[in-house]
Symmetry: D2
Amino acid sequence: MSTVAAGSKGRVLLAYSGGLDTSCILAWLIEQGYEVMCYMADVGQEEDFEAAIVKAKAVGATKVFVEDLQRTFVEELIYPAVQANTIYEGVYLLGTSLARPVIARRQIEIAARENCQYVSHGCTGKGNDQVRFELAYYALKPDIKVIAPWRVPEFYNRFQGRKDLLEYAAQKNIPVVQTAAKPWSTDENMFHISYEAGILEDPDVTPPKDMWKLTVDPEDAPQTPERIVIEFTKGKPTKVTNVNTKEVKTDALDIFNYLNQKARAHGVGRLDIVENRFIGIKSRGCYETPAGTILRVAHMDLEGLTLDRQVRSLRDSFVTPQYSNLLYNGMYFSPEAEFLLAAIEASQKTVNGQVRLKLYKGNVVVEGRSSSTEKLYDMEESSMDVQGGFSPIDSEGFIKIQSIRLKKWGQTNKLI
Amino acid sequence: MSTVAAGSKGRVLLAYSGGLDTSCILAWLIEQGYEVMCYMADVGQEEDFEAAIVKAKAVGATKVFVEDLQRTFVEELIYPAVQANTIYEGVYLLGTSLARPVIARRQIEIAARENCQYVSHGCTGKGNDQVRFELAYYALKPDIKVIAPWRVPEFYNRFQGRKDLLEYAAQKNIPVVQTAAKPWSTDENMFHISYEAGILEDPDVTPPKDMWKLTVDPEDAPQTPERIVIEFTKGKPTKVTNVNTKEVKTDALDIFNYLNQKARAHGVGRLDIVENRFIGIKSRGCYETPAGTILRVAHMDLEGLTLDRQVRSLRDSFVTPQYSNLLYNGMYFSPEAEFLLAAIEASQKTVNGQVRLKLYKGNVVVEGRSSSTEKLYDMEESSMDVQGGFSPIDSEGFIKIQSIRLKKWGQTNKLI
Amino acid sequence: MSTVAAGSKGRVLLAYSGGLDTSCILAWLIEQGYEVMCYMADVGQEEDFEAAIVKAKAVGATKVFVEDLQRTFVEELIYPAVQANTIYEGVYLLGTSLARPVIARRQIEIAARENCQYVSHGCTGKGNDQVRFELAYYALKPDIKVIAPWRVPEFYNRFQGRKDLLEYAAQKNIPVVQTAAKPWSTDENMFHISYEAGILEDPDVTPPKDMWKLTVDPEDAPQTPERIVIEFTKGKPTKVTNVNTKEVKTDALDIFNYLNQKARAHGVGRLDIVENRFIGIKSRGCYETPAGTILRVAHMDLEGLTLDRQVRSLRDSFVTPQYSNLLYNGMYFSPEAEFLLAAIEASQKTVNGQVRLKLYKGNVVVEGRSSSTEKLYDMEESSMDVQGGFSPIDSEGFIKIQSIRLKKWGQTNKLI
Amino acid sequence: MSTVAAGSKGRVLLAYSGGLDTSCILAWLIEQGYEVMCYMADVGQEEDFEAAIVKAKAVGATKVFVEDLQRTFVEELIYPAVQANTIYEGVYLLGTSLARPVIARRQIEIAARENCQYVSHGCTGKGNDQVRFELAYYALKPDIKVIAPWRVPEFYNRFQGRKDLLEYAAQKNIPVVQTAAKPWSTDENMFHISYEAGILEDPDVTPPKDMWKLTVDPEDAPQTPERIVIEFTKGKPTKVTNVNTKEVKTDALDIFNYLNQKARAHGVGRLDIVENRFIGIKSRGCYETPAGTILRVAHMDLEGLTLDRQVRSLRDSFVTPQYSNLLYNGMYFSPEAEFLLAAIEASQKTVNGQVRLKLYKGNVVVEGRSSSTEKLYDMEESSMDVQGGFSPIDSEGFIKIQSIRLKKWGQTNKLI
């Protein structure tokens, strides 16, 4: 195991993006006397990893690690979230939150292996991500030390705006791509992209048409719908079939990527909200979650056919909101996550079957669902025409018993 | 007050629709020796009330009451449901459930006034509506007696199919409209229409294009979007403005009807699901809820801007599911509904402001929101660029404290 | 497999107690043309099984089965309830509910084995137990047929009071024990005894001193306390030690019986309440739950030391009330019970350690607790004197961040 | 309005107890250049306020305010907590938490009136009380500045133990009472006293007999029970009658003090637990809550008789735990508290009646309850003997309908 050089303050593993901010942080950490290694997680974002490696080394990183975490991300985080129908504040599909645990875990694993006493990241001091990264760090390696430059006065007082960073970059010979900065920030992974800050801080400003990156504008999407069938096993997607093209995908990662491709083409998954950050600040965010939106619609629909009413109701009123909040708040590595994941798994035993979907200009339309194994839906019993399963007289007793309590209440309340 | 004729078994107030079923029930009740009055509730469904009155009288009803309940429906049931974001099993907007309390209450009021010992309805013995009507009846007038012919063996054994009803209608000179019966059943009111039974009982059958009645197929909806602004006061819509046409509506009923008209034109509000009936049977239903879908999107969005995080979270995890279940299960007239409505009202004090929406081919797109009175959203505090509201160092402490528990747990669990 | 005799209406397995009611039911079922077998479950109640067997055969039962279910009851029902801290309406420890699943399951197993088309029981038509037995029957063997004589008009109209039963017993030569009937009903098992009906129906009548059967009146209990230590493994008691006598028990059944003996001697576990039955009727019940009361106190205390705060909070706010309600309502054999039991098990991994208790005149006093394996409690970190674990400055940030949302709210609300 | 002297750093209102810690803080703040006023809240604790005033002035306080908050405490905090059955982690009655809002609010009111820019307190940096005080301060007066010396490095590094404080007191001529310090800390008010820290930090140490201050040891309590009757109106106690002595109290404060007196005499309300502090540390605490324990037992009992099942269940599963957590975590002045208090009030409309209690050696035994106005309990309907209210056949239908779902599930699961 390599040891930290004499005179060094210690070795840092920096979560590095290749952008202006983390490049300046890299240079600044070195300037402070640390040995710095860089870590880049490939969670499906659009990124020039090769260029970033070159850049990090040029700035002075002693090592650069690029880790492909896509399969882990899909299998360990995204699909359990599909099983649980996770959603924050009724609308947000948690795309950033879901990626953080896989990114942070690999960072800690490498930090441990490479004998780094410190990890560092470029998150601001007002957001959710600092919390998500650091709670994961501390749970996974309680003795890790964290350097969050945007919370270090010497750093944030020195770099008060983009101009300061650009000057520092010039001084440190950090190459800067000469594109105009977009007037918003983004975070991208294979599950979603987020847009916030800048012009979006006014919640009444409509996002410009060219902001949206992943999905086609529904107004520009094809006039012709496309039909797919998604098969689920214990609540996880195990097969997708394109009815039009006959394409079939059965690998976890392939399924997800294929759904992303189709959803993007049909303008599926845009969202524009004001949400409540963990730290108690309201914040406006725009999101694109293409495959995730399709999977949510399909999974919830199949649960209608295959999941018991009470299990669904208990899961909905408890597990889904609690697991969603926990993800949002960065507590994936926690005893309560273990506890809730056990409940999620227990809830999905019967969620087996397929859902037929139509994609059309932003809409995900369910056109039918079936299951060859689950029998909770019984066409005859359900029928209004057929006398199946039970006698109508039973309903009479059911209602009368339900009314006992209400009659007692009605007797002492003048309701009409 | 009129008295029941000698020799009569008593006086019945029948919830009458003018259709084949309730016309046969009317004739049958008379045949059984009851005096029967008919009651029709106008909750915004498409119906020829005049023709129905004539028909009921021809069959033998001693009185026919047609009651316009549209305003009550909107103001007392629909708007509080908008405030609470009510939804059943994550998708269904409860259109039938919401109408039942206003219909049942007026029926009981008239039954009391007209000295009817009995009320009757044409609901089947397998569905939710029998429960909803009767629990309302019993809560409002605990001594009322209910005749549910579809649960009376003499009735349901005699009328085993549409053919039996048609024969009976012919025998009783009940005029029958000579249209082919649709291969499904519907329930319509101004909030929604439902389709179920018949060919829909196979959950994998795609509903035929001509089934959908209220909304334009998104594929046929206009290529050009339309923009509206909805203003809310304490969580209820108080103004709608059409950005394109400059039309403005401020009356509760006008607002709702206008939103219905726009949503219908743009294909907004279709749904196809398998749900769990109160009595424990899974059932497939298709729904159109035009204005309700727009209002849900807009109201939830405005809550993002104006509602405190904790109030929202508590309301979401408790009041919304409980109030939704209660409506679905027919327990609107109950002590728990009173209790929950007090909580709903308490939650909406700050939900004041407006939401800008785009309607386009089935999509309801939020384009911005604002509030002139509420200040929980603070652009400066929210900003990632500005040092407003608090010091980044505070976040450090926040995270450290949150991590204490997780570190302790991590110390005894080998997580990496 | 024996077959039902020609001319018989079928074979019934009757849940038989040996008392007047079920003896008359036995005779009456035979009179109706059924072949009847009797089934008695030994769940630890005080009962003369030998005498009951003789009696049942004398009345005409073709077979009588007495099944010892005590160990199953303790291991499968009682200890998971201890793990979950189950309680109904804040006070009732569910003693009757817990026994029903083991009794009903064995009855159905025997009915299946003995080729009985019917099962029968002596529960009244107003109580919870009819529901608990029958929902278990139907879930375990959906095609079973149930005869509940107290809901059969021919039966309940004929036997309108104890006098009618006594006359019928005399006529059928059913021996009746010549003790005066107590002016209340009881249900007893090793977990508890319940008292209801009769003079207890007036909720303001204090139960007579001689009603309480299992426990010594606290006023008559020893003046000297007794001290025990209970050890738990994954939330289940695995050892009890008497500090005074040095007695030790480690077998599941022995532990429970020993705790019962000690609790009874010290007057522990009495309760007098008005509860809400599943069918919506309020009902007064008195209960003695000796060992169950000690185990509840001890288990909850140990969770304080060994269970993570969030897991505890989630389990308390969701699993405990839902699992308790489910037991009360007779839905132990259900998908939601499976789901909740998975969550209960997941919650108890760390509940390992021991609790020291003092028993004295109705009180169960915790005198200390410890765990050799769990480390969530950290004396140094907890200490107000020692600077351990984290810096006080962190608390400053924690509070400041928590206050952001409250300050915003305070700014627009005149609170002082 | 008085103005701060020139040269002063500003004016501080210090929450002062008269003890060693806050006296040193007072001296230290003056030493730092602040003008300091002292504030003492009388919430029913045993305290020599006169001596404290003299002492504070001697040390240099420019003003000393002693405020009697007992009635406010009982009426605004304690009785709503009784209505809500508030309890933390299943056992702790929240005595310290309940007092903090009234103490903090008055401090802020006086700070505003006296033109103090700062408030200060003597809470440590590891406990709950710093959070409770400061969140209240910030919500009530968002621009207030807080000095928490035990989180200020200059202070806590200088005063590392009691010895340092004693030396400083000597140096500043602060009189110190020459009693040996107890090996634990306490917080007392009229609702409870808490003991923690010191020898109690080992959770397996049994508290010494002479620690308990408010209540008689049950082993030393009278051999003769005493009987009282508590009357509630909308869930709040409005009358207490001593059956033995015929004493009657009807004033809110008198009732509470009388119950305290009786409970203390009979050894009611001791508790010894390990709890989870808001900041995520486990902590051992012992408590005495005499009157609060009686009121909890009585109120919950009366709810059995007078509160609807569903309202009770919803309140129990949601409002009670959330309101309890909120109090524990110091968020009484918050939008969610307003929201929950509205729900609490809505839940208590029918909680009217009286409960008869026996106090005996630590036990609070319910001996009966009644209500002259509420009629939800119906002796005839409840009776197992009388055919009242509904037909047993209704139960048959009720059970059959409830079983539909379970049968479907049983058909695909081999349960026996």
